[in-house]
Each structure stands twice: as structure tokens, then as C-alpha cells.
């Protein structure tokens, strides 16, 4: 279907089909304009002063934290699958000949043509970018930041190093390290559900903030288990902040949210840097073994 294929009756049908889809989508969105139902959203905002000041972080990592666990899995799987396509972990049935696999190939950035100033500033910029990534990570609960953003900034620093210096990247991450850090990140996230599961029975219950058994919010019916004080202090106290609002002061804590963010950041760093590294240099099992 080149652009030639769009001429004639086929093209007319295509255009009509797209028009119908456009009309369907736009009319339904048009009717939503101004009548979007608020639904459950205000209830989440109601709880905001008791948790992280950044309510979106609480929503993403606490109220709907399990959705985000699977979402983190999406990026992990994305890295796993795209690297598998390039050559890591292609399997063969014993004794059966298949197609010849695509020969692993490796590209290299042409680093000799870069001018001296860029090369001189490369290392400081990479260091500052990594520091910025860590700042964004630590600001997860208080400002619009978080693990995913940290991972993306970090991997852009890594890509910058690859473009400026080629294989002599000052930020030297091996494939093994990246795979390990990705896996460790996702398992940190998954295992942070365990304290809540063991004490209250709910997976990923935020034991640090402990909104529902500590009596912060009155009128809850049915939660029997109580989070032990030691666990609440361990996960909650390091992240306690004093929220001075016009109608009162709240000693809120994000609980496990910042820790989850660290796991998410590790996972995203591992996944995206691995994608960059393998897309550029390819995957060669022999080469990996010799290291």
C-alpha cells in the first residue's frame, strides 16, 4: 500500500472510514465537553493532606499502586522483548535446524568529528544530568517528579555519553548491570507490598502512612488488623513532612511511596538504558561470555 494504493476506490473507502471514525470520536468527546463526571476523583483529593503533598504521586503509587506495578512491568517487558528480538535469549529446539538467525551487528557513533568544546563539556553535563535525575527522584512526593521521570532523565544522560564518546562512555554501564538493576527495581516494587500483606492482609497497604487503622480518618468499618508501631515508624517516619495549610497543620507522610519510586527508577534506568545499549551495539552471546 504505497501512496499510489490510496488512489481509486480503495482510497475513497479509506478516507470515508477515517471520516466516520473522526466523526464518532469527535462527537462523543464533544458531548463530554463540560459534562465530565467527577465520580470518585474528589474522594482521592479529600485524602491528600494525610499523604504526600503531591496527590498524583499518592494516586499512582498508593491508591492505584498495583496498577502501576503492572505498568512498570510493561516497560520491563518492553525492554526484555525488544532485546530478545535483537538476539538475547533466542532459543532453539535441540537437533532442529531453523532459519539462520540475523547476524549480530554493532554500530558506532562517529565521535571523531565532534568538536573539542562539546567533548570537554560532555562529562560535566552528564554528571549534572545524573544529579538532576536523582533530584527528580527525591522530589517524587512533593513535586511533579518520580521514578519514571528519573529513569528517563538518567537514560538520556547515558545516551548523551554514548553519542559524545562512543564506547568510551564515561557513564559505564555493562549489560549485566543494566539487566540486574532493572530486575532489582521491579522486585523492590513488588516486594514493598509484602509488609502490608503480612500485617493487614492487603497487598501494598501503605504501612507507613497507615490511614485506615491508625485512626487518622474516622468512620471506617471493617479493618481489623493493626499495623505494628515499629513498622509504621520504619516506613513512615523518614518521610514525615509538616504540611502548613491555611486551615490547619498536618504531619503527613508518604510512607512507602518514595521507596517505590526508587524501585521504579531502577527499573526504568535498567530497561531504557538497556534498550539504547543493545539497539546501538547489538547483542552477541560470544562477546558476553568472554567478559
Amino acid at each position: 500500500m504505497d501512496s499510489k494504493g490510496l488512489k481509486g476506490s480503495r482510497g475513497i473507502i479509506a478516507v470515508i472510514a477515517l471520516m466516520i471514525i473522526f466523526v464518532g470520536v469527535s462527537t462523543s468527546l464533544l458531548q463530554l465537553n463540560g459534562n465530565v463526571a467527577r465520580g470518585i476523583s474528589p474522594e482521592y483529593n479529600e485524602l491528600a493532606p494525610y499523604e504526600a503533598p503531591n496527590n498524583l504521586a499518592s494516586w499512582v503509587y498508593d491508591y492505584r499502586g498495583f496498577d502501576t506495578l503492572i505498568e512498570t512491568g510493561v516497560i520491563y517487558v518492553g525492554a526484555l522483548v525488544s532485546v530478545l528480538a535483537i538476539g538475547r535469549g533466542i532459543v532453539r529446539v535441540k537437533g532442529v535446524e531453523g532459519d539462520a538467525p540475523v547476524a549480530p551487528s554493532s554500530m558506532e557513533f562517529n565521535v571523531s568529528t565532534l568538536n573539542v568544546i562539546l567533548k570537554y563539556f560532555g562529562v560535566p553535563v552528564i554528571i549534572l544530568l545524573v544529579a538532576y535525575a536523582l533530584l527528580v527522584l527525591t522530589g517524587a512526593a512533593t513535586s511533579g517528579g518520580g521514578g519514571f521521570q528519573c529513569g528517563v532523565i538518567f537514560s538520556s544522560a547515558y545516551l548523551l555519553g554514548m553519542i559524545f564518546y562512543g564506547r568510551k562512555n564515561p557513564l559505564n554501564l555493562s549489560k549485566k548491570f543494566l539487566i540486574a538493576i532493572g530486575g532489582v527495581g521491579w522486585s523492590i516494587y513488588a516486594l514493598l507490598g509484602l509488609p502490608g500483606y503480612l500485617t493487614t492482609g492487603y497487598w501494598q497497604y501503605n504501612v507507613g502512612a497507615d490511614l485506615w487503622t491508625s485512626g487518622v480518618i474516622p468512620g471506617v468499618d471493617g479493618m481489623a488488623a493493626v499495623v505494628p508501631d515499629i513498622l509504621r515508624q520504619l516506613f513512615g517516619d523518614p518521610f514525615r513532612l509538616l504540611l502548613v495549610m491555611s486551615d490547619g497543620t498536618y504531619a503527613s507522610t508518604a510512607g512507602i511511596v518514595p521507596l517505590i519510586n526508587i524501585g521504579e527508577a531502577f527499573n526504568v534506568i535498567g530497561a531504557i538504558c538497556l534498550i539504547f545499549l543493545v539497539f546501538v551495539y547489538g547483542w552477541n552471546d560470544e562477546e558476553e561470555k568472554s567478559r
Binding site: L29, N33, G34, G39, S41, L56, G78
Partner: protein, 124 residues
Amino acid sequence: MIEINLQLLCFMAAALLVVIGLGGMLFLDNIIKKIIAFTLLSDGVNLALVTLGYVEGGIVSILEPGTSAGAFPENAVLIFGPGIVLTNIVIGVSTTAVLVAVTMVLYRRYGTLKASKVLKGERK
């Protein structure tokens, strides 16, 4: 008469992006162009989702020192839209990565980026 406001404009732009992306994905032949069209489609969906959270005269859903915590629930934007957009971005990134990886491998095998030729398995 429909009142023109920001939400409406954003919704219309989103619908347009979705249809452009859809058309590109279905009718362009170059695989890389198809992937670019997919990112347009995904951005259109993102725009629609973000606009879903729009509240007239609303504030960002981060508490600020000195504001009122009592008024926050009513004023803050609806939280589903921005939250789901994060997921959609991640899904878009992963899908794009997989598509690009497979395209790279197929390009090495067949030496062409034309979908019509690659899928038939013709050599250049």
C-alpha cells in the same frame, strides 16, 4: 450553539491526532513512518485523557503551602486522566521499542523498510 472553550479545543485536537495517526498506521508503507504515526495516535489519546481531568478554574493536584486543604478536593483537577496518561506513555514507549527492534532485525534480513515487501519476504 456550542461554546468554544479550552477543553473543547483540546478534545478536537485529540480526535484529529487520533485519526491522523490511525490513517498513517494503516496507509503508509514505510515501517518507520508507521511507527511515527503510532506515536501521533498515542499522543492523541494522551491529550484526550489529560483533557478529561480539566476542571473550570481548577488547580494542579499538588498541595501548596498556605492554601486551604478543605477547598482542595473541589478545586483540584480530576485525578484519573493525568494518572492514566502516565500509563499510556509507558505503554507507548515499550510498544515503540518492540516495534523498532523487530524493524531493525527485519531490515537486516531483507534490506528494505517497505512493509509490503518485508511482509512478503522479498529481497530488495
